[in-house]
Amino acid sequence: MSDTHARWTVIEPAARWPSFALGELWAQRELVYFLTWRDVKVRYKQTLLGVAWAIIQPLATMLVFSLFFGRLAKVPSEGVPYPLFALTALVPWTFFANGLTQAAGSVVLNQNLVTKVYFPRLAIPLATVLAGALDFVLAFVLLLVFLIAYGVAPTADWLGIVPFSLLAFAATLGVGLWLAALNVLYRDVRFAVPFLAQLWLFATPIAYPSSLLGEPWRTVYSLNPMVAVVDGFRWALLGTPAPSGASIVASCTVALLLVVSGALFFRRTEQSFADVV
């Protein structure tokens, strides 16, 4: 349904190796925009605290972590005050964990659309993850308040969070695509996702610094793309040691692989979404 008139739409059995159909997705970018906008508008409808939830989540987690890991367990924090250390990691992490969870349920949640009208299905998880960007920005404002309160002065390094935010977005989308498609086929995903997010939290240096690990394990650990994201955020904002080149390469490669394979798997499964969902 693009606006190019007089063109042929071909309807054929599903291809074994589908293309990404990015051109079609691009042509329908307005739809992605409207779906994102809908998700943003609807997310906090009929809630008491509304958009404050975007701030409460990382804030509450930070308090709990500061108390148990910072105060009681005396986990090292690279010389940075522990609350700031934890919050810097929790802002991108919350984006990842929420994006993942919401993307996983997105296609099933939109089954009334999927079974009734055609549009590039990739738009659904993409819009869901994009809608999380607003929460991310709000949580980042909270982080700024803490940075100022702790007397951290802005530097040019702060711009470094831009590429690391993009990396976080790629990781979220990649895992989200896999889970969204799998969830259509197997509702097990619904039960597995909270569990997965919890395990992933401990496999990411949020409550502790990644410097606790020595090489070569640290590079292996960086196969989790969120490792480079968190280390990158801390480096840019708090001036802790930058993640190593090997670690960044490992994280970026995995994130890219997740997006490509996730999109392929999604495209391959989407032809039967309407029959299965």
């Binding site: 349904m1 054929e12 059995p13 599903a14 925009y33 009734k116 055609y118």
Partner: protein, 422 residues
């Protein structure tokens, strides 16, 4: 004439009990796969066929540009599957189809409406989902709102709308989509009569403006009025294709959406209640002298009922009840009105109702059979079958009446012109 839609050997296979099942879990799927593997080993490797269903098979046809085509057939014949394939909601298993031009599909009214968003927001969201550009929606916004008659409630969440307002707004958005090929499924089955008429009118406009329309409907009257051509689907195959009047006639000879005429309908499995002192066993209907046709509005129809009794007894009330699809009782023909109780002998007994003029408009009606003593609970009440009533096609502008009661009338213009229908 150029083709707008060309389909060659389109087919869609569903695997019963597998893909049709919702909420499958990994465990079930593993268990099933192992079970299948064991079965196929036992059978010597051949895959089982009995769990497959071809919802559509080998459908080949061409629809010319500007043609309005009705897809008709009984429930489960494959109409909706074909429409889903053409609108690309699901992919075919076999075959290929090509559609020329921008496609708009309307499988449901209000797809993507979000209850928490306002009317205004939903117009934009729904428009984008249906394939409209933001600028296009903005340009047609006032027109859409005017068509839907919801100006005052634009900033109210649609969950506070009455169902009528909701439907009007949803249809208004869809109606302003301007595709070259419009695929429509049964959207007219919802809403009140006035709304249905508005929808039909709008679709008529679309067809008249030279765009291609494919229209799935159970409403034969609408198909005959809107469509020049019809495709009849039966058991997933294209059984007939041709001018809509001919195809509809062929379909109706088989009873249409209702039971076929002039054939005994067995009531053994029909839903029923009552004391069962006597039971309706089968029923048949037909137009006397014209057995292969469903009744016309205002036309005659004969019902033959068979009643089984264990003992000799007299029954005061034996009745035939016709109801609308929503369950409103429209007609009752009861022997109690004649004061002529029916004497039943042990075994099978026959009773015949001859209705001189069936005063119902075109549509599908439910037939219920009733039997009781003069006072008390029913002996047997059976929801017997659906009956389709259809006229011979419309005259003049062909606007059908939104009512259910057929009302023969004549009209004259004392100043000069005369017209005398019926």
């Amino acid at each position: 004439m150029t083709a707008a839609i060309r389909a060659i050997g389109l087919g869609k296979r569903y695997e019963l009990g597998r893909t049709l099942q919702r909420d499958r879990t990994l465990r079930e799927s593993v268990v099933e796969s192992v079970g299948e593997l064991m079965q196929s080993i036992r059978r010597g490797g051949s895959r089982t066929d009995d769990r497959e269903l071809w919802a559509l098979r080998d459908a080949s046809f061409e629809i010319a540009e500007g043609e309005a085509v009705g897809l008709i057939g009984a429930n489960g014949a494959g109409k909706s599957t074909l429409l889903k394939l053409l609108s690309r909601v699901t992919a075919p298993t076999t075959g290929r189809a090509e559609i020329h031009g921008r496609v708009g599909s309307l499988l449901e009214v209000g797809t993507g409406f979000h209850p928490d968003l306002t009317g205004r927001e939903n117009v934009f969201l729904n428009g984008a989902i249906l394939g409209m550009r933001g600028s296009e929606i903005a340009r047609k916004f006032d027109e859409i709102v005017a068509f839907a008659e919801v100006e005052r409630f634009l900033d109210t969440p649609v969950k506070r709308y009455s169902s009528g307002m909701y439907l009007r707004l949803a249809f208004a958005v869809a109606a302003h989509l301007e595709p070259e090929v419009l695929l429509v499924d049964e959207v007219l089955a919802v809403g009140d009569a006035a709304f249905q008429r508005k929808c039909l009118g709008k679709m008529g406009d679309v067809a008249a403006s030279g765009r291609t329309v494919v229209f799935v409907s159970h409403n034969m009257d609408a198909v005959m009025r809107l469509c020049t051509r019809a495709l009849l689907l039966e058991h997933g195959r294209v059984a007939e294709s041709g001018p809509s009047a001919e195809v509809v006639a062929g379909y109706l000879a088989r009873g249409g959406t209702g039971a076929p005429p002039a054939q005994w309908i067995d009531l053994a499995d029909a839903p029923r209640r009552g004391s069962a002192e006597a039971r309706f066993t089968r029923v048949r209907y037909a137009i006397p002298g014209e057995p292969g046709r469903v009744p016309r509005p205002g036309g005659p129809v004969r019902f033959d009922l068979e009643v089984e009794s264990d003992v000799a007894q007299t029954i005061a009330s034996v009745a035939l009840v016709l109801r609308s699809q929503t369950g409103v009782m429209l007609l009752v023909a009861d022997i109690i009105e004649w004061g002529a109780p029916m004497a039943l002998a042990p075994g099978r007994n026959a009773v015949r109702f001859d209705i001189g003029s069936l005063n119902l408009t075109s549509g599908t009606y439910g037939v219920t059979l009733w039997m009781s003593h003069a006072i008390g609970k029913p002996i047997d009440e059976v929801t017997a079958f659906d009956l389709e009533v259809l006229g011979d096609g419309s005259r003049g502008l062909g606007a059908s009446s939104p009512s259910m009661v057929h009302c023969p009338f004549s009209v004259s213009f004392p100043n000069g012109r005369d017209a005398q229908p019926d």
